[in-house]
């Protein structure tokens, strides 16, 4: 048995790094939101100015709505895809190892790299994906002119980031054991019945937890493609909340205002996760 203190000792370097790079800046966001600060001149106390302005800022509401739209399209789709893949890949068989690796690969590729690949694929003049878009009735340059199409593509691109979800679901599915499934088969259940009455309910706690995590991550993972490919456009259609914060902070040097946006993002994330955790709790109470 390893003593408590030694565990803390081993974790200390990592924790210190985390504190310096993540926790401290995150905590600094709160006082920063109360200041006017451009990074050059001395900060001035602003009180609730930034918050009030945020409330009345149409672009803030636009970006919040964009972020939520992307989230509500991509998170359920990603979960469904990951679940399907996990059910295909949880058994050992020919090609399964390759399938698992292929599922995981996009998730461990740097955001910038795959965003640039997509930028090439979507190029209206010679990009292969853009040339295929007319087949489903979309003009090859529609994503440059129509906000809805751009958001759809943005959500579509992040569907490749399901490696971790799939790995967790594969592990969860393997945990379920084969005897329950054998019992279900002998009892006469069809594959669909087994999926809806056995697999899905047994995986539900994991699915809810993954939905929480993926929702929080979705705010971040969608930033890079929005920044690289659509740059917030067209007509602010892909201006996402973190991107709006990024623009205010690092392009307009309005650090106080950017911090206020980040705070809003934080509150929304906490609300979303709280909602899902409540759902999870109710579910697991039923399970007892």
């Amino acid at each position: 048995m390893i003593s408590h203190w030694r565990l803390w000792g081993w974790s200390l370097p990592g924790l210190a790094l985390l504190a310096a790079l993540v926790v401290l800046p995150a905590l600094l966001t709160l006082p920063l939101a109360l200041l006017h600060f451009d990074g050059v001149s001395a900060p001035r106390f602003a009180g609730a100015d930034n918050i009030v302005r945020l409330w009345g800022d149409p672009l803030f509401w636009q970006s919040l709505s964009n972020s939520l739209k992307v989230l509500f399209i991509s998170v359920p789709l990603r979960l469904m895809l990951a679940l399907g893949l996990a059910l295909l890949l949880h058994r050992n068989g020919p090609g399964v190892g390759l399938g698992r690796a292929a599922t995981l690969a996009p998730g461990v590729t740097p955001d910038i790299a795959w965003a640039l690949i997509w930028l090439f694929l979507l190029n209206p003049l010679y990009g292969p994906v853009a040339l295929l878009l007319p087949l489903i009735g979309i003009a090859p340059d529609a994503w440059l002119t129509q906000p809805g199409v751009a958001r759809g593509l943005l959500s579509f691109m992040t569907l490749w980031l399901i490696g971790e979800l799939t790995v967790v679901l594969i592990a969860a599915r393997q945990e379920l054991g084969h005897e329950v499934y054998e019992a279900a088969r002998i009892e006469g259940a069809s594959s669909w019945h087994i999926f809806t009455r056995v697999t899905l309910p047994l995986l539900m706690p994991v699915l809810v937890l993954l939905a929480c995590r993926d929702a929080a991550l979705s705010f971040q993972t969608s930033l890079t493609p929005a920044l690289i490919i659509t740059k917030g456009g067209p007509q602010y259609g892909t201006l996402l909340l973190p991107m709006y914060a990024y623009q205010n902070g690092f392009e307009y040097l309005r650090f106080g205002y950017a911090a206020a946006i980040q705070l809003a993002l934080f509150v929304i994330t906490v609300l979303l996760i709280g909602l899902q955790l409540r759902w999870l709790k109710r579910w697991s109470m039923q399970g007892r």
Partner: protein
Amino acid sequence: MTQGLELDQLVVHLDGKPVLRGVSLAAAAGERVVLAGPSGSGKSTLLRAVAGLVPVQAGSIHIDGRRIDSLPSAQRDVAMMFQSYALFPHLSVLDNLTFGLRARGKSKTVADERASAVAATLGLSSLLARRPAGLSGGERQRVALGRALLRQPKALLLDEPLSSLDAQLRSKARAEIVRAHAGSNSAMLLVTHDQAEAMALADRLGILKDGVLQQLAAPRAVYARPANRFVAQFLGSPAMNLFEVRRALDGALWWRNARLADSAEAPVHAGSSATLGLRPEQLSLPGSRWAPASQNVAQLQARIVDVEAGGDHQIVWLEAEGERLAARTEPEWRAVTGEKLPVTLHLDQACWFAPDGEGVLL
């Protein structure tokens, strides 16, 4: 048309290795057939083959004359109770019980009605709303049994159904299985490695070794007249004592350097040898009341090396001719370790095996 379950020359390979090598047996409707054997003997595989969970390489399985070995599990009209019970953890006891009927498209009313009847016989009525996690081991075992019985399958397969229960619950659960199965028309095939369970539950007892059925008979008969040395040693605790005896030309019976009897009745010709099998209760010690009355006896000098107390008996471990032997006496019989004493071998009910260990003489 035969009623019940019938296996004919069943061969099953797992990962290319033969696990069952031509097993034939039949369990009539309403009959309880228990299969016992050491781990790895293929007994669980046999159940899984009947249930359709492993493919059959050769031979056939019939239920009520209908051949089922190539049908999917759901169409075989069998139910199986797993060693781990395999209850659905997210479903209530009621939903666990009715799972099969609901999956087969029966209405909720019909299924619930049947479930409450089964729950009543198994004492589960007050637990119907609970989930498996909230049940004791014994209750889970009864739910699993109830689920298997509910559809009134033609064949009821029980894989080590009591092995997860503690000793006290086991004998109670044994009685419950017998009671719940009584009056049903299912042919029951139960697998266990527990001898007491096998003896108590079986109408007929089969002993399996390395995928071959060694013997299938009434439990008393398997105990008293084992078909070969393996069965003799597998059943009974402590195991049967075995003596390689030979008959001298003068008619005397010898075991190693001990002259057992001048002229005992035994299926051994002068000049040849055989294996004598005696249960611990067929060895009696001087003054012990635990001795069958018999005419045909032999004598042996032995030394007491150990005593094992049981509640209603004791096992006295003896050493003779460099071999350990077990004798059973009443618990009051005073055993002194190291004491040398004459042991009486009662040959009337003895088992005689051919010297190679396969097959029985007499």
